[in-house]
């Protein structure tokens, strides 16, 4: 039997709090899960700094990747298989892409990518195509197979239906993370009737669509997503932790470039500071390593680096205030000047941060939206864009919500305000 068709002697299952069980029969899938690059995802949290707000949010990208795989497996095996529009030859590549779609995420991805100007999607491609254990497993299926998996994840695979299962406005990725993040954070938002959505999902040439009778389940999914973004993903306190994390990395980079002598040398970061890193340098990193550095750097001579690390490790985060860039951009300039005069470096201690989300977007002829809409399949077989049938979705379609915050170390300013009138002036401006 060819490796691509090989089944395990017995089905393996992973107990999962969201989907109850993750079922694995394919030998290829089992082997991919066992690779070091996939196992590394156990050491990268799905929600980065969110655990500092919702203490249950310690789940990893390993959990999520298995979850996305399981959803796609159910869509294919229980829903699409045997239907005319679905090509069963695409099953294995779709399952592998679902399992591996987040393979290139690094530790605290968002901050790390921002500071070092990296893109986790490129790393996903490199891990799939480079000299790695994952590549070796995929290559056993066929020499072209790693590239096919990479193309699905990179959205350049010719079969658009396959791509849409991993990446669209109603894909397995979103369906898993909403439910999983809701479960682990403990919030009551984020739940929707996924079983119903999977039952009414239908394959078409271009993408997966939803039978009209499933419209209300999709409405619930979109509202869940909306709630999760504002209640969990954009929580102002986890954004504060993210701001500090970003500033730690910036500071370490700046010190390295200025030939500062570290007590605890940044071995793991040097190639990123110099931009000479190789794939292996990236794969070697995980969140435990970053946290070890932050622990050690608390003892550094540099007061900014040690203070920021102390804040992150001990959750002494920055305070925040609302900020409207449209009317207050001049105030920012004044605050920056006051921070400098007060001896507090505004590059590290005064940070504007914005969050924005578009809950659902769609394309109408003549407009320039870039997202493929969700289509309902009507009784006649015709496709109709979701917001044309759903008043609820229509009400939030294309409506972006944005939130701007200004982060600052209130504790320093409060403690010093008696001795330094500038501190009080800054506080009055920030709180006024």
């Amino acid at each position: 039997m060819e490796y691509r068709d090989e089944k395990l002697p017995e089905e393996k299952v992973f107990k999962d709090p969201v989907h109850r069980y993750i079922h694995v029969r394919d030998k290829v899938i089992w082997d991919v899960i066992g690779t070091r690059e996939f196992q590394r995802l156990r050491r990268i949290k799905q929600l980065g700094t969110t655990y500092l707000v919702f203490h249950g949010a310690e789940h990893s990208r390993f959990h999520h990747s298995l979850g996305v795989y399981e959803i796609v497996r159910r869509i294919i095996d229980d829903g699409f298989s045997g239907r005319r529009e679905w090509n069963d030859d695409e099953r294995l590549v779709t399952l592998c892409a679902a399992l591996l779609h987040d393979l290139g995420h690094g530790p605290f991805s968002h901050a790390f990518e921002k500071v070092f100007d990296l893109d986790h999607e490129l790393f996903t491609q490199q891990i799939l195509l480079g000299d790695t254990e994952v590549n070796a497993v995929l290559k056993r299926v066929g020499t072209e197979f790693p590239q096919k998996v990479a193309d699905v994840i990179g959205k350049t695979y010719p079969d658009k239906l396959v791509v849409s299962l991993i990446s669209s406005q109603i894909d397995a990725d979103r369906m898993d993370y909403l439910q999983r993040d809701a479960y682990f954070t403990g919030v009551s938002y984020g739940h929707f009737d996924m079983e119903r959505i999977l039952r009414v999902m239908r394959p078409t040439e271009e993408q997966a669509v939803i039978k009209y009778s499933g419209m209300h389940a999709v409405e619930d999914y979109i509202m869940s997503r909306y709630q999760m973004y504002w209640q969990v993903y954009f929580h102002p306190v986890s954004r504060s932790a993210e701001v500090i994390l970003t500033k730690i990395l910036h500071r370490a980079k700046q010190l390295y470039e200025a030939s500062y002598i570290f007590k605890f040398e940044p071995f793991h970061f040097k190639s990123f500071f110099d931009r000479t890193f190789e794939l292996e340098d990236y794969i070697s990193l995980d969140e435990s390593i970053l946290l070890t550095y932050f622990q050690m750097w608390m003892k550094e001579v540099d007061p900014i680096l040690s203070d920021l690390c102390y804040r992150f490790i001990n959750r002494k985060l920055f305070q925040h205030t609302e900020f409207n860039p449209a009317t207050e951009y001049r105030k920012i300039g004044e605050l920056e000047q006051l921070f400098k005069e007060a001896g507090i470096d505004p590059a590290y201690y005064l940070v504007a941060d914005s969050s924005s989300d578009l809950p659902y977007d769609f394309y109408r002829p003549g407009e320039e939206s870039e997202r493929l809409p969700i289509y309902l399949q009507m009784a006649t077989g015709e496709l109709s864009e979701l917001s044309r049938s759903s008043d609820i979705v229509d009400a939030i379609s294309g409506k972006r919500r944005t939130d701007h915050k200004l982060y600052f170390p209130e504790d320093i300013l409060e403690q010093g305000k008696e001795g330094n009138p500038l501190y009080k002036q800054i506080l009055d401006m920030l709180k006024g």
Partner: protein, 168 residues
Amino acid sequence: MLQEHARIAQFISLATEVNGRKKLQKMVFIAKKMNFPFAEKYELHMYGPYSEELTLRIEELCEMGFLSEQCSDKKSYIQYTYHVSDEGKQFLETAEPPHDKLAQCIERMNGKSSRFLELVSTLLYFDHLTKDEQIAKVHIVKNKLNFTEQEMDTAFTFIDELQQSTVN
């Protein structure tokens, strides 16, 4: 602190005006690929490389009153045109000056159609591949646009010229 906003406003100021959201998206992406310092993160979407961060930045600049967005109904489509407002010009007086070769790069791009810039930006999105692979990718992700061989050649020539004229 609003340096990234300033860079985008500067870009539009140098272009005098940009017609179309899609065109603006592609122009900034191409400029970024020419090593001009734009921080917006791009992903592959329906019309090629697209940045949600740029969309947000443009909306914020409009909200701030630094950009004016005009919407005109062209019957078969709606076109958005962007200019820097008087307030935006004041804001830019406080910003760092742009790179001296950016204006020339923008001028070259602004004279081209959205379709052409969509092709150029998509080719550049795959610039880590060989030329043949880049063309094959464009045919896969843009299969409905039916780009001709001649259009491909013109796009590659344009990229070469742009790269030569913007060597930093």
